[in-house]
Amino acid sequence: MEKIKYGYLMPPDWSLHGHGIDQLIYLVHIFMVALFIGWGIFLTIALIRHRQRPGHQANYESATSKLPKFIEVGIVLFEVFLLVGLSFPIWNRYKTDPPAAEDALTVRVVGQQFVWNIHYPGEDGKFGKTSIKFVSDFNPLGIDPDDPASVDDFFAVNQFHIPVNKPIIAQISSKDVIHSFGVPVLRVKQDATPGMAVPIWFTATQTGQFEIICSQLCGVGHSLMKGIITVDNDEDFGKWWQEQPRPFKKEAPAEAKVDTVPESEATKG
């Protein structure tokens, strides 16, 4: 496991998709600094050369130069390049190109004041149904204990374990107010809005630990709403996965037989 060094600039990028984002950020900043220095030099020269002093007269005629037009056109072209060349493709890939569900680990991430609940589907890859009538302090996600799909489900609070180099699909939602699932090291951010479940996906490329920072003011405890993402290698992740208690596991395994019925029910709901 590597330790992350934080400093005055961006933390390291440990995601598969973050490279493009970083590149865009660097490029835009180089452009900004260059433009600002250029402007600044012109402004300074103008102020010194045309300051009021004895024997100096203002010109009634304005300066005529094509240069500003060229600069403006240059800026427009560069912005078009930023949009079409970088921002569109990066964003579109980030938004519309999910990994195949078979290859990915799908989890539900549900914000609440002031913790992150991570709902794992268990071995069957299916989430148990949820309803607010089952919500309690012991079942914060309101997972239906009678749904056969919830038998192997488990959830974690503020501890989000993921395997390295495996695509993760996270359904981001919230129980109460708007939160935002922000992970600087993974270059990921998505508002968690009640009434919506928005899928995002990412792949961590190194093992280690870093923070989920709530990125939308969510109340008194907003600044304490920190989750920890632990990226494990496959072996450690498998071990952790096995160790998790399954709170909805029934003693009698007979119920697991009626596996196909609830699925049609689920589509109805």
């Binding site: 933390p11 950020i25 300051r51 304005s62 921002s87 129980k175 107010v177």
Partner: protein, 579 residues
Amino acid sequence: MSEAHHPEPGFIQKYIFSVDHKVIGIQYGITSLVFLFLGFCLMMLMRWQLAFPGEAMPLAGKIFTNGMPGGVMLPEFYNSLGAMHGTIMIFLGVVPLGVGAFGNYLVPLMVGAPDMAFPKLNAASYWVYFVGGMIMLASFFIPGGAANSGWTSYPPLSVIATAGQTYWLVGMVFLITSSLLGSVNILVTIIQLRAPGLSFFKLPFFVWAQFVTSFLLLLAFPPLEAAGILQLMDRVAGTSFFMPSGLVVSNTPMEIAGGGNAILWQHLFWFLAHPEVYVLILPAIGIITEIIVANTRKPLYGYKTLIYSVIFLGLMSFLVWAHHMFMTGMGTTMSNFFQVTTMIISIPSVVILTVLIITLWGGSIRFNVPMLFALTFLPMFAIGGLTGLPLGLTASDIYFHDTYYVIGHFHYVVAPGSLFALFAGIYYWYPKAAGRKMSSFWGKVHFYGSVVSINLIFFPMLFQGLAGLNRRLYDPTFYANGAAIQDLNVLISIAAWSLGAFQLIFIANFFLSMKFGKKVNDNPWEATTLEWQTPTPPPHGNFLQDPVVCRGPYEYSVPGEAKDYLPQNEESTRSEQVA
């Protein structure tokens, strides 16, 4: 319209319930300056918590017994301070100062009118604003304190928040109503009351900026007023406009109808709040244009370009609002549309800056206090605009959204941008209103002190944003990336307090100059626009003779003239051959 023959009114009639646009402008000005200082004080308190999280602040425990017991700030108090800092600075400070004070005082003078089109409506607008401000202030003293859901007031948080939010919404309804009344008045005044000969393309650029600003206020505020009332209903009448079904707060299902949409509020809010950015910036651009031209002693380069740019800016500002919402989960069609419009809106801003910088070329530049502030606006606004780029591009916004980068960005636009322009305006037009100049020495102390401090506040914030530090965090050291750069927070806080100290100099200068300032003639800056062609201070009714305008606003250094400026209403000294 002329009320010159009325008997001399008493003190209350003259200074408190006046219908004279100049008195109302000064009322707006003083009130909004008080609010600006108050909003800044809230921030100076927050800066203690950000620099020294959880440590007791000397004396504070005695003053803020509820919010800071024992001197240690509570998170709910911190959130209140944050929400109210934003609300006060924008809705009670910069907008009333830029539009209410400068618009009211100067627009009738600059168009050569005896008063606003609707003087009583004008007074009503001020008093509605005043009531709105008092409601906001009162909310600090109720149980639970003032609104604490951010100045953006996103539901469901704002709907389940303490009673302060109800005060906030009621206060906002008053403030919006006031802005609507004021904007109608400015629009009608500009359209109807221009002096003979003063065609639209002879108006000073400041008037154009106010014209476009008023349209923005008129068109953008009603959606927020409606949204504010809907949120109020959600809070007090049990409706669910912004409350989706299935909400569970503290593991208890909420007793609400549900079926609403939390994102709807954000659309309605930002539909106002993006044009609002231009409401904050356009009067500022108008002010610095007047000051830069007068102190460059040459005509404005590209007068019409500038006008078309602000009209375009105004129109486009209605089409960019969702760039504040890229992280809500919007799809590619919508986000791509909004990032394209966002890039497009940067172009008129670039044009405006270019026009103003080129205007300097070939001038004879005077570096007086208003000019120093006005010139500083240019690079500061440039930083503010440029840092908008990575936020406006969705891909980089994934990283920067809701970090201190955003705070640095918009403060560069509004604080060393708009506010410096407003300071410039105060130093520039103070002699017209008071008959005396503000001290130029103390003005320069105020200027240099403020420039250094304010950059030490906002520039480090860009680095905090790069490091991924989030805004609105009560304790930034709780996160590894924040703890690593906590020294920046200490630096920023010290700079903020020093900025506060330099404002005390301004306050003293402002009041003492009324009595001790150097007396000036009617046109101390030798400027061309009509407000300088009145007695000082202008009497009720403004002009001794109704002005007749015979030329454009910026005829400086005309070849062959006796003096280097030609007022808009004055005959040329040489035989009339200026086309």
